[in-house]
């Protein structure tokens, strides 16, 4: 099948008909890019605080919480913690083996698969398992009723492509592989990007927290698959 490419012609020349329309669309794209340069990408942290419970009528997530309660099974009733704007809920379910399973529920555009949780009382970060549950173990050692949480949304995401041992980092922050890789680790340089608190690698279906020290991320080589993702929070 013949495929003629008019794109280069349309980027350069103003003409009539289709060529002219396509050229004006390109001009519009350039203004669109300028206008969207400083667009705020929104908050990266959602607070879930025990002390600041939102008013009941400001709880859009309440409906979702009620719907999800209907599916509870077992002997333990679920509990919920709502975000300050009432749009998000954390659903807590105690399981038999000393585990609390936490699930983030929302009806917004939020991709809950990419979220990490932080508890200041436990001083610990959590990532979700394949089912989307964050798991806290040995809950009898602390009082789960008193925990506050922050849901962290990634500030950026990197993609690692591994083609026959040659790794390419696809990012919008200029991240690149350092030369000093070993058999066990490779090192990613984030090029003086914004301060990141946490790095998580999604390898296959599982997520792992990996070491980040200023601008350098240490990635265990074993976790690098053909296509892996790193979320930076």
């Amino acid at each position: 099948m013949i495929e003629d490419n008019y794109i280069f012609e349309e980027l350069e020349n103003q003409d009539s008909g289709v060529l002219g329309d396509e050229h004006s669309l390109f001009e519009r794209l350039k203004s669109y890019e300028k206008d969207s340069e400083n667009t705020d990408s929104g908050p990266h942290i959602i607070d879930f605080l025990k002390s600041e419970y939102p008013e009941r009528e400001k709880l859009p997530a309440l409906k979702l919480a009620a719907e999800s309660s209907g599916s509870d099974s077992g002997n333990f009733k679920s509990e919920f913690l709502f975000s300050l704007d009432g749009k998000y809920a954390l659903k807590f379910t105690k399981k038999l083996d000393e585990e609390i399973h936490i699930r983030l529920i929302s009806e917004s555009e939020l991709n809950t698969d990419e979220v990490a949780l932080y508890s200041s009382e436990l001083n610990k970060y959590f990532v979700s398992n394949i089912s989307g549950d964050f798991i806290i173990g040995q809950y009898s050692k602390f009082n789960p009723e008193e925990l506050n949480f922050k849901a962290l949304l990634p500030k950026t995401k990197l993609t690692l492509l591994n083609k026959e041992g040659s790794i390419t980092v696809i990012s919008d922050i200029g991240a690149h592989i350092e030369n000093r890789q070993t058999d066990r680790f490779i090192y990613l340089n984030l090029e003086n990007s914004a301060d990141f608190l946490l790095a998580v690698i999604l390898s296959g279906n599982s997520k792992h927290i990996i070491k980040i020290d200023k601008d350098i991320i240490e990635i265990p080589s074993l976790l690098i698959t053909e296509k892996s993702y790193i979320f930076l929070y």
Partner: protein
């Protein structure tokens, strides 16, 4: 980054490779975001323009042995006159390559994420290939044409012109016979003087999708099973299911774009009109007619938004119909 081009896309430092990748990714992401905003591209709903750009550009961004081989090969093979590319116009050439790759790979996004639409795209492409048609790649879409050399200095038919053409020559009955559909459509289009003899790929798919949906309802309501209570119930069920999933998506779209309550109300009324047309077997009013009827204005930027939402609804209906057909076939 012009030095990278001068160096045959070999990066001496890993930092340069990282910077180049982020530049290319930004070009791709902005391009897709823009095409979505003017309704020339539909992305699977959960997919962001950035994720789509990564998927579509991954193959050209592979950095191996210090070099971006795909960039090197493309520029080497397509631009033999090196003096044409200067530091001033280099970024436009880079953009041209990125847009070309995205246009070529775009339909692959739907393979796993939206099989119903992917099936329509693939069907058009494979049929066009077997009939010896040509495809031209343009900035915002690919164009399909039967004659080899098209005069692109003339306007292309808008989706509404295509729909009118299809309806004027009663092409709906060939909707499941793509070769006949395409041939008859171009028999007519190639004789017209007010349009160029090519159609946008995206519009073509949208028109076929719309006819398939209308055809399904027409057959079920006006065909053999006119008074069949079960069939009517099944159609109502399909519509209700589609409305349910669509309204969830519509709410997300409205929240994300901070659209007004008025927009929301008018869109709900528009969907009610479309459903009423489906249920009575009437041809659906055009998006522009619906917009003027409910919003009371004829505005280009609003039109894109309304068209996107209508397309989203029809997408949901089509998915439910496909599912229904699979279930019926299994019985």
């Amino acid at each position: 980054m012009f030095s990278l081009y001068n160096n045959g896309f070999k990066a001496e430092k890993a930092e340069d490779a990282g910077t180049f990748i982020s530049l290319v990714l930004k070009i791709g992401e902005n391009y897709l975001r823009f095409l979505v905003s003017i309704n020339r591209v539909y992305l699977p709903f959960e997919m962001s323009p950035k994720d789509a750009a990564i998927d579509l550009l991954a193959e050209i961004l592979v950095f191996k042995n210090g070099s971006f081989l795909k960039f090197h090969d493309f520029f080497q093979n397509n631009f033999t006159d090196k003096s044409k590319i200067t530091e001033d116009n280099y970024e436009d050439y880079l953009r041209g390559f990125v847009y070309t790759v995205i246009q070529k790979n775009l339909t692959n996004l739907f393979k796993d994420n939206d099989p119903a639409l992917y099936h329509i795209y693939r069907n058009i492409k494979e049929t066009a290939k077997s009939l010896g048609y040509s495809i031209s790649i343009h900035f915002s879409d690919k164009y399909l044409h039967r004659i080899k050399k098209v005069d692109f200095k003339i306007d292309a038919p808008a989706p509404e012109d295509l729909l009118k053409l299809v309806s004027d020559i009663n092409l709906q009955k060939y909707i499941y016979n793509t070769p006949a559909f395409l041939n008859l459509m171009f028999d007519n289009l190639d004789t017209q003087h007010n349009f160029c003899h090519a159609v946008r790929f995206h519009d073509m798919a949208a028109v076929m999708k719309k006819i398939m949906i209308s055809d399904y309802f027409e057959r079920e309501l006006c065909g053999a099973g006119t008074n069949n209570f079960t069939d009517t119930l099944s159609i109502k069920f399909i519509i209700e299911e589609a409305k349910f999933t669509f309204f969830e998506k519509l709410e997300k779209y409205i929240n994300k774009n901070s659209l007004s309550q008025n927009f929301s109300d008018c869109m709900y009324s528009i969907i009610d009109d479309i459903v009423a047309d489906f249920m009575t077997g009437n041809p659906r009013s055009s998006v522009r007619e619906l917009m003027i009827r409910h919003f009371g204005v004829d505005e280009k930027s609003l039109f894109y938004k309304v068209q996107y939402c209508v397309s989203l609804f029809e997408q949901e209906v089509l998915k439910k119909i496909k599912l229904e057909k699979i279930l019926i076939d299994r019985r």
